[in-house]
Structure formats: structure tokens, C-alpha cells
């Protein structure tokens, strides 16, 4: 998705997007940040806006939360993959 569509869908200002990219809170998939945005980036931007806005989390807090939430999803993915391929455990 193009940068303009991403800005509209996420409700971000251009300057805010630049800051979030610098902070590496958003990591568009393609090298070209003009076109590299996807649905996950929109959803992540909404999450960060909720944290900053309604939940009143400051910038260092957002860094920590994103780091922990991404680890949590890594764990959930690993669990899901283990659950899918649970064959080896059955015989043990």
C-alpha cells in the first residue's frame, strides 16, 4: 500500500510517521517506504495510537510494550507451530 493510503488508514500525520519510522516502531516490509506498507503496519499504528492516546503511555513505555508484545506473538507463533506438528511428542 502506498504511503498516502497508509496515512489515511492509520490517521497519522506525515511528521508523526517520520518519527515512528525513525524510532523503528514501524518497519514497512519493502525497502521503498513510499509503497511498502501493509495491513499489519496499519493495525500496529492503531495499537501505538491507542497506547499513546487513550492509555496514556509515554514514548519509552511504548518501546518496552512493543518489544514485549512482539516477543509474546513470537511465543504464540511457536506454540501454534508446535501444536500443528505435535507428532514427535505423541510417540514419547
Amino acid at each position: 500500500m502506498k504511503r498516502e493510503e497508509f496515512l489515511t488508514r492509520s490517521g497519522l500525520e506525515v511528521r508523526t510517521l517520520e518519527i515512528w519510522l525513525e524510532q523503528r516502531w514501524l518497519l514497512p516490509a519493502a525497502e521503498d517506504v513510499e509503497t511498502g506498507f501493509s495491513e499489519i503496519d496499519v493495525a500496529r499504528a492503531h495499537f501505538i495510537r491507542d497506547l499513546q492516546g487513550g492509555l496514556g503511555v509515554n514514548d519509552p513505555g511504548i518501546d518496552v510494550i512493543l518489544h514485549l508484545v512482539d516477543q509474546l506473538h513470537g511465543l504464540r507463533r511457536a506454540f501454534a507451530e508446535l501444536k500443528q506438528g505435535q507428532g514427535p511428542l505423541d510417540g514419547e
Binding site: 496499519v42 493495525a43 516477543q71
Partner: protein, 298 residues
């Protein structure tokens, strides 16, 4: 939705600060992205967020208290949360650092984790879809063509004879690269058959409209007819008319079970341009032509 004051657990007389504080406390507890595994969190968060949309806005709160709008006045649109995407593999935010140390052990669990990570590291590349427009004639006879890829490079594609519009060709291993030993995905090429003004296709058969002269219609004769594999000679019978349908056997599309469909040629008599005075004079004096009424049998 229940009464927004009840949802936030505040009194009707609560100050703006008390409402904000109550919302923050509940939102931290129920935000779906802070509860990735709790399916009910989304509904509870939605209620809390809707209640705050109403009571957190001084004007809306005043109108709600006055009974001008009800509690659904602040309904939020459907939203996809980060958690809906984040547990998938292969995105830039994925992190293994929450359990990487567990993979170092020599127990069965560590082995499973290692295998799982290895499978992810050796994942087959995704398939890539392309659209390839081809001429009608190539869809019947088959062809070799070169597809220029939007991301650069080309792909040689063999069009099998008899292909239909919308059919998808799979080129194994021509999709996106995989990771590790996973191997590339496939290229899926959807073929778009461009219409040909001469031919119409109906299953394995082809139809065509062929203009003929009055002389050819009356006296019959040999005419050249286009087919997907080139022109052929066809005999027009004496006394042919517009709408007469003739068959060229085996000149249609290849059949799955072997052989070919047919080409049907519908004749269309065309008078000379400009009108010929001699023909006019002949028809004027042609008595049998005056008594013949082609609409009689209708």
C-alpha cells in the same frame, strides 16, 4: 451496550479526570493487543472504548445526560487489531527472543522448538500470480510467449492448445524464493484470452460469419475462409442464403479427449457497393422474384 457510566464503573457525577482515569485502567486491562489470546477482550474493550467516546467528549456527554443521544451514539467501526496479524510468520516485527534460550537444551521440547524454527527457516517461497493476455488464435493453436514481470525479468510461458479464458497455468519453481532449503514457490499465470473480431468460441467449436457476394450465393463456388490455423477453401452450395450454416470439420479447438471441435461458418450475402444498375434492371424484370415472399412461412 449497557449504560456507559456502568461500563466505566463511575458515578454520573464523576469529573472528566475520573472518567479518563477509569477508562485508562480498563483499557489497559482489556485492550485486545495487550491480550492476544483472549477472544472476549475485544468485545469488552469495544464497550469500554465506546463508553469513553461518549463520556470523554464533554459535548456528547451533555447530550447523553439530556437524553438527546443514546448509548449507541458512539458506536465504533469494525477494526482489525495488531494481534490479528502479529502471530503470523514472516513479518518485520516477528521476534524469537522470548524463547530462544529454550532451544538450547537437549530435551524433547527444545528439539521440537528447533525443528519448528528450522521448518520456518526452510519454508517454501510463496506463489506469485500474474495475468497474461494472449491472442484468441494462440488460445486455440497453442504458442510460446514471453511474460515481462512487473518486478523485472521475463518468464517463458508455453500456452497449451485449446486453453480457455481465465485458465491458470502453474510454472513450478518460478514464484518467490523460499528460505533455506525451502525452495521457491510457483508462478500462477491466469490467461486472459483477447477477443478476435472474426471468431466466437462455443466450447470446442468456433463460429465465424463469412460475407459472400450475390453471385457466390446464387451460383455457388469456392471461397477462402479464415480458421485459427490459417485459411482453407470451402465450397458454397448453389442457392446459399444469409444465415446458411456450413461446417468445417476439425477446425475448432482441441478436445480434451482427443480430436478437435468444428468451425461453423454462417454466410452473409452482401450486395455490391455502390448498387449496380444492371442488377437493378434485372430484378425489375424478374417476375419470379416479385412473387417470392421469404416472410410467408413465419
Amino acid at each position: 451496550m449497557a449504560n456507559p457510566y456502568d461500563v466505566l464503573g463511575v458515578a454520573k457525577s464523576a469529573s472528566d479526570g475520573e472518567i479518563r482515569s477509569a477508562y485508562r485502567k480498563l483499557a489497559k486491562t482489556f485492550h485486545p493487543d495487550l491480550n492476544p489470546g483472549d477472544k472476549g477482550a475485544e468485545d469488552r474493550f469495544k464497550d469500554v472504548a465506546s463508553a469513553y467516546d461518549l463520556l470523554g467528549d464533554a459535548d456528547k456527554r451533555k447530550r447523553f445526560d439530556a437524553g438527546e443521544i443514546d448509548e449507541t451514539g458512539a458506536e465504533r467501526p469494525q477494526q482489525r487489531y495488531y494481534r490479528d496479524y502479529a502471530s503470523e510468520a514472516g513479518h518485520a516485527y516477528a521476534s524469537d527472543s522470548g524463547f530462544a534460550d529454550y532451544m538450547d537444551g537437549d530435551d524433547a521440547f527444545a528439539e521440537l522448538l528447533r525443528r519448528s524454527q528450522q521448518a520456518r527457516a526452510n519454508r517454501r517461497g510463496p506463489d506469485i500470480r500474474y495475468t497474461l493476455p494472449i491472442p484468441f488464435v494462440d488460445s486455440i493453436t497453442g504458442a510460446s510467449t514471453r511474460l515481462t514481470l512487473p518486478e523485472g525479468g521475463t518468464l517463458d510461458v508455453t500456452i497449451p492448445p485449446g486453453l480457455v479464458d481465465g485458465q491458470v497455468l502453474r510454472l513450478r519453481g518460478k514464484g518467490a524464493p523460499g528460505t533455506g532449503t525451502g525452495g521457491p514457490g510457483d508462478a500462477l499465470i491466469e490467461v486472459e484470452v483477447r477477443p478476435d473480431p472474426r471468431f466466437e468460441r462455443d466450447g470446442d467449436d468456433i463460429s465465424i460469419e463469412l460475407p459472400i457476394s450475390l453471385t457466390e450465393a446464387v451460383l455457388g463456388g469456392k471461397v477462402r475462409v479464415p480458421t485459427p490455423t490459417g485459411e482453407v477453401t470451402m465450397t458454397v452450395p448453389k442457392g446459399a442464403s444469409t444465415g446458411t450454416r456450413l461446417r468445417l470439420k476439425g477446425k475448432g479447438a482441441p478436445r480434451r479427449e482427443g480430436g478437435h471441435g468444428d468451425e461453423y461458418v454462417t454466410l452473409k450475402v452482401v450486395l455490391p457497393h455502390p448498387p449496380d444498375p444492371a442488377l437493378e434492371a434485372f430484378v425489375e424484370g424478374w417476375e419470379a422474384g416479385k412473387s417470392f415472399n421469404p416472410r410467408e412461412d413465419r
